[in-house]
């Protein structure tokens, strides 16, 4: 199977994950295989045929999923293409379990759904090296600590956090930003934003926070691979960080632990150099990170269905979900103040699905820090 086809099928797997449970459970494997055949046949006929397959698939998915998830689909009504973007983004986020964990959060312009009053004015901050990053802060500018919401290192934009920022009380200063290569921040030619070394990304964050004169200390909130990112940041700048919130975070050991269940997800799982660059640990190396600061781990409760991973047995699929849970438990034990919270009704894209739970955790961590001082 060629690369484009494989990418297409992966995207379809993600779509599939949104379909009603009974449909997926019973026909998931067949739907996936039929889609693969359709796409393969279409790709022999040219681009128009491929586009037609996708158009049909997206339209159908809206019909199938629309009723079950009416709220996220408010946008879908506006146009098929907005819906396609919504799908793509939502799904990529949803699918990070098991994959390399480098896709995070949602690039959907949620701000489109919000009233103009709710939007905060963002600004472009010039970094020391001449590049610009987009930063968007809300709440009392004189408040400490500053809460910073971080996506994973690649595709994330401030937009993804809009709902959370709305729900955090105005007495707390909260900022989100577009990563280099994403949204309104400067874009890079090479490599793809997702593939940029984690330490470089951490240094850009550091630059941004410093240049924008965000009041220290910081509480970092990281979603998915953003969890690995903020642990790395804390490790490099421990004095700047007073607390952490992990939002269904990825884990440094996940590459080899997942490969032990199935090698299908990441053919690159045993390339120590590439793993290290992305913040993951090579085969059988354990995470040593520990920080006795206020820390809350938010864990999803909605598991991706096994039909989202065709080719895996039920047993492998269960093992995968168990592993993800173990990672969350482990992370909560990395601070003696650590707390694990299972968030009902949330999948991986918690900032969309249960923004209130994140706002609550932010409030609790900030309160804890203020009490200690």
């Amino acid at each position: 199977m060629n690369l484009a086809l494989r990418a297409g099928c992966r995207l379809f797997d993600c779509l599939l994950a949104l379909y009603p449970v009974e449909l997926r459970a019973r026909y998931g494997g067949e739907m996936r295989q039929d889609f693969e055949n359709l796409l393969e046949e279409a790709s022999n006929q040219g681009l128009i045929a491929v586009a037609q397959v996708w158009l049909t698939t997206v339209k159908e998915s809206i019909a199938v999923v629309g009723t079950a998830y009416s709220e996220p689909f408010a946008l879908a009504a506006s146009s098929v293409f907005a819906a396609a973007a919504l799908f793509t983004a939502t799904l990529l986020g949803f699918c990070t379990i098991g994959v390399s964990g480098t896709v995070q959060a949602n690039t959907v312009p949620i701000t489109q759904q919000m009233s103009p009053n709710a939007m905060q004015a963002g600004k472009l901050v010039p970094l020391a090296d001449g590049r610009h990053m987009f930063l968007e802060c809300s709440g009392d500018p004189s408040a400490e600590p500053t809460v910073i919401l971080a996506n994973g290192k690649g595709l994330g934009t401030a937009d993804a956090w809009a709902k959370v920022q709305q729900l955090v009380p105005p007495s707390i200063r909260t900022c989100s930003y577009d990563a280099i290569g994403a949204g309104q921040s400067d874009h890079v030619q090479q490599p793809h934003p997702e593939l940029r070394p984690i330490d470089q990304v951490v240094s850009e964050m550091h630059d941004l926070f410093q240049t924008a004169q965000l009041k220290r200390p910081y509480v970092l909130v990281g979603a998915s691979a953003g969890g690995i990112l903020i642990r790395r940041y804390q490790q490099q700048h421990p004095n700047e960080i007073a607390g952490l919130v992990f939002v269904d975070s990825a884990h440094e050991e996940q590459a080899w632990r997942i490969a032990a269940i199935s090698k299908e997800f990441d053919p690159n799982w045993n390339n120590p150099e590439s793993l290290r660059e992305n913040g993951f640990l090579p085969d059988h190396q354990k995470l040593t990170w520990h920080a006795d600061i206020p820390l809350i781990v938010l864990e999803r409760t909605e598991k991706p269905p096994c039909s989202a991973f065709p080719g895996l047995s039920q047993q492998q699929c269960d093992a995968l979900n168990d592993e993800w849970h173990n990672h969350q438990v482990d992370l909560a034990a990395r601070s003696r103040y650590g707390q694990l919270r299972s968030v009902a009704g949330s999948g991986h894209i918690m900032h969309q699905q249960r923004p209130g739970a994140i706002a609550e955790a932010v409030k609790d961590v900030v309160r804890e820090i203020q009490r200690e001082r």
């Binding site: 026909y27 067949e30 739907m31 295989q33 039929d34 055949n37 359709l38 037609q52 159908e60 199938v64």
Partner: protein, 121 residues
């Protein structure tokens, strides 16, 4: 979870007229059993390209028709990843009922001389 219909004529009639997706899936299975992908291809041909069904519509329809006991799965041992479907007795009757409904509509149109079919009025 088959909630088979009581096979009397009146109950079947409540399902008429059939939605295009249901009609074409039943129609595709009229002359023999098929797996999902083949149904999809046949529907495209039968509808002369007017109905392009993707997996979501197809399997939602299959799910619905199965739960009504109008089609059923055949155990296939050789190709476990693909199930094969066929019409049940009720499914055949429903398709017949739908086809005669369509025929009656056409006859009516012909009688009223508002529609030409078969090359003659």
């Amino acid at each position: 979870m088959t909630t088979s219909l009581p096979g009397d004529k009146d109950t079947l009639n409540t399902l008429l007229p059939l939605a295009p997706s249901s009609f074409f899936v039943l129609f595709a299975l009229a002359d023999g059993e098929r797996h999902g992908y083949r149904i999809m291809q046949d529907v495209k041909v039968l509808s002369e390209g007017r109905l392009q069904m993707g997996p979501a519509t197809l399997y939602t329809t299959i799910q619905k028709l199965s739960s009504l006991g109008l089609i059923e799965e055949i155990d296939s041992e050789s190709n476990a990843r693909r199930r094969t479907y066929r019409l049940t007795h009720d499914g055949k009757r429903l398709l017949d009922a739908e086809l005669s409904r369509q025929r009656n509509v056409l006859l009516l149109a012909r009688k009223k001389k508002i529609f030409q079919f078969g090359g003659q009025l």
